[in-house]
Amino acid sequence: MKVLVCISHVPDTTAKINFTSDHKEFDKNGVSFVINPYDEFGLTRAVWLQEKHGASVTVVNVGTAETEPTLRKALAIGANDAIRINAEPTDGFFVAKQIAHIVKENGYDIVIAGRESIDYNGSQVPGMLAAMLKWPFVNACVGLEVQDEKAEVIREIDGGKEKSVVSLPAVIAGQKGLVEEKDLKIPNMRGIMQARTKPLNVVEPVDSDVKTAAVHYEKPAPKGDCKMIDAENVAELVDLLHNEAKVI
């Protein structure tokens, strides 16, 4: 079994987000980057498939050389090899097209991505990738069992969960539940040493048309002051919510 795990390289969850003064770009100064938290669940799930079913696990990222430490971390967690598609990931369509090309070239039984990247929150790449490959797609996946040519999956739906069976190959967009938080693999010393010599192949992107362009970045307006209400006087809060904020 060959598993491909898509890894998006994103600002750490505690990062303060700033934009350049001309509002044209995200300012990466002083920001540390991590494996997208949703992708971490998929990566650990893939490493379990490697441990239990002898699957080979490849990680892929569409990004410039600055994402290599993130890919090395994925190798240290247990992936067998890594592919970096050498391009600025301009939008979801572009990324999906690049990964679809790799999948068609190398052939995989299952592609595991994350529900969304926590930078642009697009939730675009996995669904587009599935469509380009004409494979089944499971979004917001919180349970995955692979058997023969099939996968039994549980996904979040609006207000509940749905269990279904999809044929493989398929694209899974996962999150917590694929594995539990406490089971997330973290790199150990041995893994880090091994990662240094595992293959990290850099390939050039294929042509793609441009569908969208980010033209302006802006921070949310700062919150006004918080109005404090005495704990002995909660009726005042209800009054404010009703008459001033008009939300109840």
């Binding site: 995200f26 926590i118 996904r155 033209v215 802006e218 704990a231 939300v247």
Partner: protein
């Protein structure tokens, strides 16, 4: 030319986000000086009511079977072709996210998701979306002839309905080309409005100390008609179901009112709730970071404040 809304139903019925999607498409169509149409799949509610939100014609497919994202996407695209649409509007619900990418590829259009506002221009199409987990906004320009706009559920709101009936046209669902998905079991939480759609949310964190104390939270939520949510550690410890976990790695919500009780206000928590219209924070620690993101705050012990608040809400409701 036209703009088409994919109007989602839940178990056949329209919800607020359905009308929101219809109204958004109608707005975009007006700006583009063209018609707004809609497509519905397996609706049992009467589709003609979408006319109240500016839709002139509804394509209705009622034989689509279990949800399959390809069947849905291909049916939407078929309706889009039928109405000569150059734009599709969908809601970014879980269902919407299952079909957005597939629809974009089948329609060969530019997908902009997580949209928080109406377009600032339609020629070229420029639209603002939320990014960096509500820590920023990015304006996107569409560079393609066709576009798919996915709007944040409950983000833009529903205008006052008019009284117009849309024409309803039956179409066949496009089932042919879909990879097999066999649905085994659907398990929907009853009685509570799904979090992303809730107008009012009462949320609690580790400050509640024990899952046995959640009756305090549920009582307040009941009195308000609110849905309940929680911080990540609370769902990690199994005190509350994962589906209630809000924040950067949980669900992002934007209710009209978010009440946070015994939650410190970590940056990852704020990432999922800061888009709420009004935020109330109840915390025993006056230094809790959440107060900086709040509109109203009470420094106090949740075990004392919350029951009083519940009573005060009941009094208000009784006098309404």
């Amino acid at each position: 030319m036209s703009v088409i809304a994919y109007v989602e139903t839940w178990e056949g019925k329209f919800k607020k986000t359905s009308f929101e999607t219809a109204a958004y498409a109608a707005h975009v169509a007006r700006e583009m000086a063209t018609d707004a149409v809609a497509v519905v799949i397996n609706a049992t509610d009467d589709p003609s009511q979408l006319g109240n939100y500016g839709i002139s014609k509804v394509y209705s497919a009622s034989d689509a079977g279990d949800f399959n994202n390809y069947t849905w996407a291909n049916t939407i695209v078929a309706a889009a072709k039928e109405s000569d649409a150059n734009g599709i509007v969908i809601s970014g619900t879980f269902g919407g996210k299952m079909i957005a990418g597939v629809t974009a590829v089948a329609f060969d259009g530019a997908l902009v998701s997580n949209i928080s506002e109406k377009p600032s221009s339609v020629s070229p199409m420029v639209v603002r979306r939320s990014a960096f987990s509500s820590k920023g906004f990015v304006d996107y320009e569409v560079k393609s002839d066709r576009f798919i706009l996915s709007i944040i559920p409950n983000g833009i709101g529903v205008p006052q309905p008019e009284s117009n009936a849309a024409e309803v046209v039956s179409i066949d669902a496009v089932t042919g080309d879909s990879p097999s998905v066999e649905v085994k079991e659907v398990d929907r939480v009853k009685g509570q409005i799904p979090l992303p759609e809730a107008e009012l949310v009462v949320s609690a964190g580790r400050g509640l100390k024990d899952p046995g104390n959640w009756n305090l939270i549920e009582d307040l939520a009941d009195a308000l008609g609110a849905s309940t949510a929680c911080s990540k550690p609370v769902s990690d410890m199994g005190w509350r179901p994962h589906s209630e976990h809000v924040g950067q790695t949980g669900i992002a919500i934007n209710p009209n009112l978010y009440i946070a009780i015994g939650i410190s206000g970590a940056i990852q928590h704020l990432a999922g709730v800061s888009a709420s219209n009004k935020i109330v924070v109840i915390n025993s620690d006056p230094e809790a970071p959440f107060f900086k993101a709040a509109d109203y705050g009470i420094v106090g012990d949740a075990f004392e404040v919350v029951p009083k608040l519940t009573e005060a809400v009941k009094t208000l409701k009784a006098n309404q």
